[in-house]
């Protein structure tokens, strides 16, 4: 795998956790109940911590002196490599937790594979992150089941969230040249290979949640290649990057 490809691969991992971490942190202080507010903030913190490891390594691989902070705060939309799913707005609490579940399930399977990576640095970051993600998945699964199989109103909202977000799931499993290079080098798994496992597990959870996965296989794409993000990412970055843009180099 060329350093350029590896850099892109690491940006994908780090941008997923960065964008979802920031999105989740938007709930801080506004959660539906105190315990959920704290849980959301803790999840965001774990994801930002993982971002520091992924983007820190990405900067080293790139060898142009960019730190994790530089990569997070000083790139524009077209340089982000996260999947479209994680940049989608929070919506209501149910929609946020549906997005979290759909991502956590992939994240958990992905990290389990990355622990076997031929790149020792990737393997050790995956080992660390996977303990945290297992915990996220446990919580988001319980919440999706609880709200899906809850009151008529919570069920209606969770089905609406699944209908809205499911078309963004497919992108996680569509391989491209960079994925192929990672597979060839033993660095990462074939995304399509994880897809079948994901679907089985998602079916099982949605059955318990009494929710129906949409039958239309259409998938939005363009996030992980950077070809076409949704309009939401730019708005999110405007807020996330504001301080470094307005006061370049500010520290405390």
């Amino acid at each position: 795998m060329t350093p350029q490809d590896l850099f892109q691969y690491l940006l994908r991992l780090g941008d997923n956790t960065l964008v979802l971490g920031h999105r989740t942190s938007e709930w801080c202080g506004t959660g539906p109940v105190l315990e959920e507010d704290i849980a959301l903030a803790n999840t965001a913190l774990d994801l930002i911590g993982q971002t520091q490891m992924w983007l820190g390594y990405a900067g080293e691989v790139e060898s142009e002196g960019r730190s994790a902070d530089d990569l997070a705060m000083l790139r524009d939309v077209w340089d982000f490599r996260n999947v479209l799913l994680v940049e989608q707005p929070n919506g209501d609490f149910g929609q946020t937790m549906m997005r979290q579940f759909l991502f956590d399930l992939w994240h958990d399977l992905m990290l389990a594979n990355l622990q076997k990576s031929a790149d020792p640095r990737i393997a050790e970051i995956a080992e660390k992150a996977s303990k945290e993600v297992r915990y996220h998945l446990e919580r988001s699964t319980d919440t999706v089941v609880g709200l899906g199989d809850g009151s008529p109103e919570s069920h209606r909202r969770m089905q609406a969230a699944l209908n809205l977000l499911w078309p963004y799931v497919g992108e996680l499993f569509v391989p491209d040249d960079i994925d192929a290079a990672a597979v060839a080098a033993g660095i990462g798994p074939d995304p399509a290979g994880i897809g079948a496992q994901y679907r089985n597990l998602a079916d099982e959870v949605m059955a318990r949640a009494t929710l129906a996965i949409p039958s239309d296989p259409f998938a939005h794409k363009g996030g992980k290649s950077g070809f076409r993000h949704t309009e939401h990412l730019g708005h999110m970055l405007t807020e996330m990057q504001w301080l470094q843009r307005a006061y370049p180099g500010a520290t405390w």
Partner: protein, 155 residues
């Protein structure tokens, strides 16, 4: 001036006096955050592992460890971060577990929840939330004395 070099065991004792910034009743050694102390030439290398990757206390811990060793007169100190093997609550020493419980935090248990209420000792407990005031804790409640308490998550 001739300085005598402290032994590695002595340095461990000094580190055992550095409190965790979030839970000051236990030391960074009690929590298993310090993974190794070694002498490399004239330099002392302390290996530290983060509990949670986003835990804001990690940088404070590194700062406090370095300061503690400098205060003891060690000048050449290097801190190394180690991710693998990933930190686990199994590394919390017996002494650390006892101190946590005494402080009102139920120590981690492989059963996935606290063994007993750290206040009254009863075992009829319920989980309030998987997460708590710091990344390493969850919130539980004792149904006997009705008091909520922190539980140190088992990972």
């Amino acid at each position: 001036m001739v300085k005598t070099q402290p032994s590695i065991a002595e340095i461990w004792t000094w580190l055992d006096a550095v409190p965790d910034p979030e839970i000051p009743v236990v030391s960074v050694v009690d929590l298993g955050i310090v993974r190794g102390v070694a002498r490399e030439g004239g330099k002392i290398v302390v290996t530290i592992t983060p509990t949670y990757s986003g835990c804001p206390a990690t940088s404070v811990i590194s700062f406090e460890v370095e300061r503690a060793l400098r205060e003891k007169g060690l000048e050449d100190v290097e801190l190394r971060r180690q991710l693998s093997p990933a930190w686990t609550t199994d590394w919390i020493a017996r002494k650390g577990r006892d101190k946590l419980e005494e402080y009102g935090i139920a120590p981690p248990s492989p059963a996935g929840g606290p063994e007993r209420c750290p206040r009254c000792g009863e075992r009829d407990l319920e989980r309030i939330s998987q997460f708590g005031s710091t990344p390493c804790k969850a919130q539980w409640r004792c149904k006997s004395c009705l008091e909520p308490f922190d539980y140190f998550k088992c990972i």
